[in-house]
Every structure is written in structure tokens, then in C-alpha cells.
């Protein structure tokens, strides 16, 4: 598979000159100015350190830009703009404003680990993607993305009780993302299941919705985990030079 590179000709870099003459030659029309002279003054010199301070970003300094990650990437196959190698490049140079242009797709990493499998330098690009998505949120560039809402709903159940219950998780996720639970495809699927009368399974799922599955004697673990999470959150905010508490809550 070829390595899809990021397109350098962007719509905003196209110049239209209705009348342009250069040394007696008429060169009117559309011009791409992707090599436009520019002075970059907004480097974030600590961008790499900020990503490295978040869980998963630790190995970003090891990257030597071979592009194996992008070449192997599942999401890149669907969207050529999803380019882990390029983002790692921008982070290492400190080009924050360029990175932020892709803020709405970085969270889409599906964690298939093909990049981590292919990486010859143990950068763990999959984890770097999650650290970068996390960074975008902490810096306030993006609101909480659906995947983060799902991660938090899921982890919240695990931290509280030791186990999860899928029905409740789905209801909570759909409610928090403002979607109807009665999606036509979901309804069709559940109707199909019910028509086969899996009595034991339906009772099991129904019961799990009332008596939540849980691990016994979980209380002390819940307290230890919650304390650890709070401590880590504070550490991440400090590393990014942010105030101890977020100014607005997304909940």
C-alpha cells in the first residue's frame, strides 16, 4: 500500500490572479502558494514535552519519521488526512497551530495497534494518538469527543463496581451524546434476537440491568483507584501549565 502523504495544496493557499503578467508573459489564473514565504513565530517549544508528560506519549522522542505507522494505519485507509507520522512530526517541531488544524479527527484512532506492531523504534504511536487527543481536550481546543465520553462511562462503571453491564453503558452513552437509543438498526437486531427466544439470555440481561454486576469487597479498591485518578489528573494539568481545576465542566 502506498504511503498517503498529506496534501500540501490547501484551498486557502490557492491564489486567483485575474490579470497577472510576469516579464511580458500572461500567467493569470489559479496559483498555489504552498511554498509561500512565511515567518513562524508561534512555536510551542515545549509541545513534545507536554505530550510526553501524558500517559502514552512517553516515547514520542524516539520517532525517526520512517512513516511505517501511517503506512499500516487502519483509519488512514478510510481518511488520508489521518496521518500519525505527520502529527508526530508537528509535535516534535512544536508546530501547535498546524497540529490543531486536525483536532477533530485525531480522536478517531481505533487502537488496532498496527502502527505499534510496525514501528521499528518503539514509539507506540497508538498511545501517542491517545495522548494527543487528551492534550487537545486539556488545552481546551476541543470539547469531549464521543470516544472519551464512552471511555469515561465505561471506566466509571469499572472503578465503581469492578465490572460493567453493557445495557446500562449503552443507555448512558446514548443519553450523554444526545442520541436516540431506538436506532432503527439496533431495533431490528434486538427484534431478531428476541424472536429466537433466548429466554436464559434475556433474563440474564434484564437482571443485570436491575442488580448491577459487581466484584465483592470492591470498596477499598474503588477508593484507591479514585484517589490515583485524581492525583494523575492534577499531575497532567501541572505538566501543561494549566490551573489545578478545569474552568468549565463538560459533564
Amino acid at each position: 500500500m502506498p504511503i498517503h502523504e498529506k496534501h500540501l495544496i490547501r484551498p486557502e493557499n490557492l491564489l486567483r490572479k485575474d490579470k497577472l503578467e510576469v516579464e511580458g508573459v500572461d500567467v493569470s489564473g489559479d496559483w498555489s502558494t504552498f511554498i509561500q514565504t512565511r515567518v513562524i513565530a508561534d512555536y510551542n517549544e515545549s509541545l513534545q514535552d507536554e505530550i510526553a508528560a501524558l500517559p502514552g506519549g512517553e516515547n514520542i522522542h524516539r520517532c525517526w519519521q520512517c512513516g511505517s505507522c501511517t503506512n499500516a494505519c487502519t483509519v488512514n485507509m478510510l481518511n488520508p488526512d489521518f496521518n500519525p507520522r505527520y502529527w508526530i512530526y508537528l509535535i516534535r517541531l512544536g508546530l501547535e497551530s498546524e497540529l490543531v488544524r486536525d483536532k477533530d479527527i485525531i480522536w478517531q484512532c481505533v487502537s488496532c495497534n498496527k502502527c505499534t506492531y510496525a514501528c521499528p523504534r518503539d514509539v507506540v504511536p497508538e498511545a501517542v494518538m491517545h495522548a494527543t487527543a487528551h492534550w487537545l481536550e486539556l488545552k481546551g481546543y476541543v470539547p469531549e469527543k464521543p470516544s472519551v465520553i464512552f471511555d469515561e462511562a465505561f471506566s466509571g462503571q469499572v472503578f465503581a463496581r469492578g465490572k460493567i453491564e453493557e445495557g446500562r453503558l449503552m443507555r448512558k452513552f446514548f443519553a450523554r451524546t444526545g442520541q436516540k437509543l431506538a436506532q432503527p438498526w439496533l431495533v431490528a437486531m434486538v427484534k431478531g434476537l428476541v424472536s429466537r427466544m433466548p429466554v436464559g439470555l434475556l433474563m440474564r440481561l434484564g437482571l443485570a440491568g436491575i442488580i448491577h454486576p459487581s466484584t465483592r469487597n470492591w470498596g477499598r479498591k474503588r477508593a484507591a483507584i479514585n484517589e490515583y485518578v485524581a492525583e494523575q489528573n492534577a499531575r497532567h494539568r501541572r505538566a501543561l501549565g494549566l490551573a489545578a481545576q478545569p474552568t468549565e465542566s463538560h459533564s
Binding site: P55, T74, V75, L78, Q108, V110, S111, C112, N113, K114, T116, Y117, V124, A127, H134, K145, P146, S147, I149, F150, D151, E152, F154, S155, V158, K163, I164, E165, E166, G167, F173, F174, T177, W185, A188, M189, V190, G192, L193, R196, M197, P198, G200, L201, R204, L205, A208, P213, T215, R216, W218, R220, K221, A223, A224, I225, E227, Y228, V229, Q232
Partner: protein, 307 residues
């Protein structure tokens, strides 16, 4: 064939108690039919799945390591996890505890605060249901046990991501002949061939179904699943055999969603490999929980004289 897997600790995980119950049921039934003992871990907890690591990877190590400790305390040297997610996380906890001081420290601290002894690397081996059947029974013995051959049923074997990637957490794989391969896995192919199936050449054995974003980025998942389904059909498969509850329900959900939302209908059936193996061993379709799957496959099974 090895006796050391005759009796192992069993870690079903959350999905197998819910939407993946057909996998749980069929795994236990196949074990019973083959004379293998499974002893469920006492008071286990969630391994962290694919979500907790995004909050904090070391918390996932703590959650998974606690299950390994339970297996150790119950006197087991081996724990079997049929779910790719559980299997992967237990393997990853084992690797991280052996190689990363930071992970050891966090697990020790959280264990102490929750009043438990921390797990130390090297005490318990984690295996997948595929390795369990392949090593405890083997193809030769399986061929002798088949009562109702799959009789040339055309199967695409789908292993997904977490069974093979990343390579470093599976030190026993890629060890030459006889071992499992991370680039071209074959344990499921071997088991189902012994049960009488005809495995089709399927290039997407370890492609991603988008399971991590099955609900949060549904269109991406549907496109990835549709690619898997149409490729399996183009390869001549009647059935996609699965070995992971997240892949399995992802394929089922997005097969339905592709039809309703994208107008793309596919007819390939989706069944757990343990369900197929169970039916080949003479168990009924209901016994191996085919009716608990979200997709309908009984017509094909009936036509093929299975179940």
C-alpha cells in the same frame, strides 16, 4: 497435545456474561465434550477492556494483574481467557510488570491501599481459548472426536487485532513451526479444518473491525466491518468464524447497520469458533447458544445438517 491444560482457571470477562453469552456457553460446552476442566476465577473484576487504558494505562495493568493474582491464589499456573480483550490485557499486564518499574510500583501501591497482595510477573501463564483447545487436545484427537463433520462448510477465520498485536506481549508467538503466527494466525483454521470445515483464503484475518469505536464512531466501524464482510463473501465464505466477543458483536451490529444505514446487504453468517466446533462434536445449535447471537444463522446451519 499437553496435559498441563487439562484443568485451567477460567476468566470469562464482562462481555461473556452479557452480549457474548453464546461464546461463554459454547466454550464451556466444548470443554465438557472434550473432557477439559474449567474453574472460574473467584470474584474476578473487569480487565479494563479498551477503555480504561485511555484514562490511565497503569490502572489497566492493576485491574488485569488482580485477576492473575486470583488465579495464582487458587493454585493455578494457567488462566484461559476466550475474549481477545481480556487475553490481551492479561498478557500486557504480565509484560509490563516484567519490564516496567513504573507499572510495578503503581500496582504495588494500589494493591496495598486496597488491602491485597500485588501480583508478581511470571507466576501465571495466560492463554486464549484457541491455544487451550489446540494445545490441550490438538487436531489429531479432534478429528477422532468429530461426530457431525462441518462437511466442507466454507469458513473465513477472523482473529482481529488484540490476539496478535503488538507482537512484544506475545513472546510465545512467531517461534517457527507449530507456534502461532502474529501476521498469519492459523490456530482457528487448524481447529476448524479438523472439524471438517473448508477454510477459504482470507486476507483480512487480522484486520480491524473498529471495535473500540463501535458506538462512538459508528460510521467508521460500519465501513471497516463492511470491508471485512464483503471480502469474506468475495473469498467464497459462507461463515465468518470469530474468537472475540467484541469482534463478533461488532460484525453482527454493523452488518445490520450497513444494511439499514448504508443500504448494503451482506449474507455471510457470523458464528463463534466454539459454536462451530461444538456442533461438529455433536452438540445441538441451542446447546452452543446459536440462538443467543444477535444475527440469524440457523437457516444455513439447518441446510448444512448442523445443530
Amino acid at each position: 497435545m499437553t496435559d498441563k491444560y487439562q484443568k485451567v482457571a477460567y476468566y470469562p470477562g464482562c462481555a461473556l456474561e452479557g452480549t457474548g453469552h453464546g461464546y461463554n456457553r459454547s466454550t464451556k460446552e466444548v470443554g465438557k465434550a472434550l473432557g477439559l476442566d474449567l474453574v472460574e476465577l473467584d470474584n474476578w473484576n473487569c480487565c479494563g477492556a479498551m477503555e480504561v487504558k485511555n484514562v490511565d494505562p497503569k490502572l489497566q495493568t492493576f485491574l488485569s494483574a488482580r485477576n492473575l493474582k486470583i488465579a495464582e491464589d487458587m493454585g493455578f499456573k494457567t488462566v484461559m481467557a476466550p475474549c481477545n480483550g481480556c487475553y490481551h490485557n492479561l498478557k500486557k499486564a504480565e509484560y509490563d510488570l516484567a519490564h516496567d518499574a513504573g507499572s510495578r510500583e503503581t500496582v504495588a501501591r494500589l494493591s496495598e491501599k486496597s488491602g491485597e497482595q500485588p501480583y508478581e510477573a511470571g507466576k501465571v501463564e495466560t492463554i486464549h481459548a484457541l491455544e487451550w483447545i489446540k494445545d490441550a487436545v490438538g487436531e489429531e484427537e479432534l478429528r477422532k472426536r468429530v461426530r457431525n463433520s462441518l462437511n466442507g462448510l466454507k469458513i473465513a477465520n477472523y482473529y482481529g487485532c488484540m490476539y496478535v498485536r503488538p507482537r512484544h506481549i506475545f513472546p510465545e508467538k512467531d517461534r517457527g513451526p507449530g507456534s502461532e503466527s502474529t501476521s498469519k494466525p492459523h490456530f482457528m483454521d487448524d481447529i476448524l479444518a479438523a472439524a471438517g470445515a473448508e477454510n477459504v483464503e482470507f486476507p483480512l484475518k487480522t484486520a480491524c473491525c473498529g471495535g473500540a469505536h463501535t458506538l462512538s464512531d459508528s460510521d467508521t466501524s460500519t465501513r471497516l466491518v463492511l470491508n471485512i464482510l464483503t471480502t469474506a463473501e468475495a473469498c467464497g465464505a459462507e461463515v465468518i468464524a470469530t474468537e472475540c466477543p467484541t469482534c463478533h458483536s461488532g460484525l453482527e451490529m454493523h452488518q445490520a447497520r450497513a444494511e439499514k444505514v448504508f443500504g448494503k446487504k451482506t449474507k455471510v453468517k457470523i458464528l463463534y469458533f466454539t459454536q462451530l466446533l461444538g456442533m461438529a462434536l455433536g452438540l445441538s445449535a441451542r446447546k452452543v447458544g446459536v440462538h443467543e447471537n444477535f444475527s440469524e444463522s440457523r437457516d444455513l446451519l439447518k441446510a448444512k445438517g448442523l445443530g
